[in-house]
Amino acid sequence: MPYFSKAFGNPSSFHSTGLEAKKAIQKARKRIAKILNCKPEEVIFAGSGTESLNYAIKGIAFKAMLEEKRGTIITQKTEHHAVIEIMEWLKKIGFNIVMLKVNENGVVEEEELRKALEENKGTVLLVTIMYANNEIGTIQPIKKLASVAHKYGVVFHTDACQGAEYLKLNVEELSVDMMTLNGSKVYAFKGTGLLYKKKGIEIEPLIHGGGQEKGARGGTENVAGIIGIAKALEIAEKEKKKESARLEKLRDYMINKILKKIPQTILNGDKKERLPNNVNISFKGVEGESILLRLDEKGIRASTGSACSSQSLEPSHVLLAIGRTHGLAHGSIRFSLGKGTTKTQIDYTIKNLKKIVFELRQLSSAWNGGKVIDKE
């Protein structure tokens, strides 16, 4: 941790300690640019993925407002809450927000985007679509969607916070104009993030201040955090191919086995275009939090799209967007695989899961001997 103990200088200072910190940031920026296949000055550091999303989206909106304009921003229904809440706020101040629907696998179809661009022709400021979904793991056809946006001369941003560890981050290959990444999802420090912004795309800053990041983001840089995110991305890049292939195999093994061994179960998300670490399944007739707590007792950690485990008492907006009933959204369980996951662990999980789902269905007022009651 030399950037806490030795090179703790303020990168904006002219003395040598400050200079050392400044150099370290420059070096980190170059390393990241190499991974993203962009120019170093196209990388802007931020305090989190959420901040970067706010910067990219509001930056475009503020630019329009400076010109006394409003306009249309296109996004889609399964975005992370961070994006959805920005959109709700922009709507309040007069922007036209279009939320594209997704198909039953959670994929945004090119035709949907094309229609929205056509309908709002001349007013669209930005298209922002997530790279991969955090709940159901669906990977969007980013390159194709970006090229649709470009045909209409519209800027394309992608939220790549989820899946940066496993997916290609080459911005040229993806043909995106802006891309948000965060640190904690690639095992870097929490409270770090960055925005790739293609040269020539002008947006207004979100945080005004001392001219850091060439005026794009005020505030003294988080030197250690920036170096950490560079290192974490390098490690992820190095292990990406091998680890993705390993997890994909385990993931498919787990999905197929659950669907086969436990009756009346449905996979949520796309079977192929899916994050290697994501398994999300709905169990008819049972509530997710009950499954989750029974699994926890066996040392298995999972999460659910059930309202019962959320603060809002609303079931997952993602599951509702792909057309799941409330009952199926409440009965969904997500397993996240990771570096330590093995086949033995998966077998142990499925063995317990089968028993737990069976027992809870026996207790359930919605199971009805397998003739599931799922009226709204």
Binding site: G285, V286, E287, E289, S290, L293, R294, E297, S306, A307, C308, S309, Q311, L313, P315, T325, H326, G327, H330, E359, Q362, L363, S364, S365, A366, W367, N368, G369, G370, I373, D374, K375, E376
Partner: protein
């Protein structure tokens, strides 16, 4: 009696009832031979409770319940069922003596977000007694049909 907001984990009593629910009906087919049936909640809200009661001399002498619900709903109803069965059974002529707050207290508290789950059993019970009232033309019973859950 609320567990701190940040504290997601349930009390040991909740866990005990959740893992071993009392007087629950854990079979595919509905139970037979009960005098009245009540239900409350909807799939939309993620909670659906059913209850069957046996009444003798205006006392609930037996009951069974089933739920599509979370740990709070399961534990609260299990606790409620235990209370109803205690002694010689609950008197249906009197007001419902067991309040949701009472149940929560006996469970050692619930996270505040989960309080609403604890009324499920209570409302299903009310619905069952109302069913008994209608079936047996017992206009003397004060119980009314529970209002639908608003969401």
């Amino acid at each position: 009696m609320q567990i701190e907001e940040q504290n997601w984990f349930y009390s040991p009593t909740v866990k005990e009832h959740f893992f071993k629910p009392k007087h629950a009906w854990v079979k595919d087919k509905s139970p037979t031979g009960y005098d009245a049936y009540g239900f409350y909640g909807s799939m939309k809200c993620g909670d659906k409770m059913e209850m069957w009661i046996k009444v003798k001399k205006d006392k609930i002498v037996d009951l069974k319940w089933k739920t599509f619900g979370c740990a709070s709903a399961i534990a609260s109803t299990s606790m409620l069922a235990t209370k109803i069965k205690k002694k010689s059974g609950m008197d249906i002529k009197k007001d419902l003596q067991i309040t949701p707050m009472d149940i929560i207290k006996r469970l050692g508290g619930l996270p505040s977000i989960k309080i609403h789950c604890s009324v499920m059993g209570d409302k299903a019970l009310q619905s069952a007694i109302y069913d008994y009232k209608v079936k047996n033309k017992r206009e003397d019973l004060k119980v009314e049909k529970p209002e639908e859950e608003k969401h």
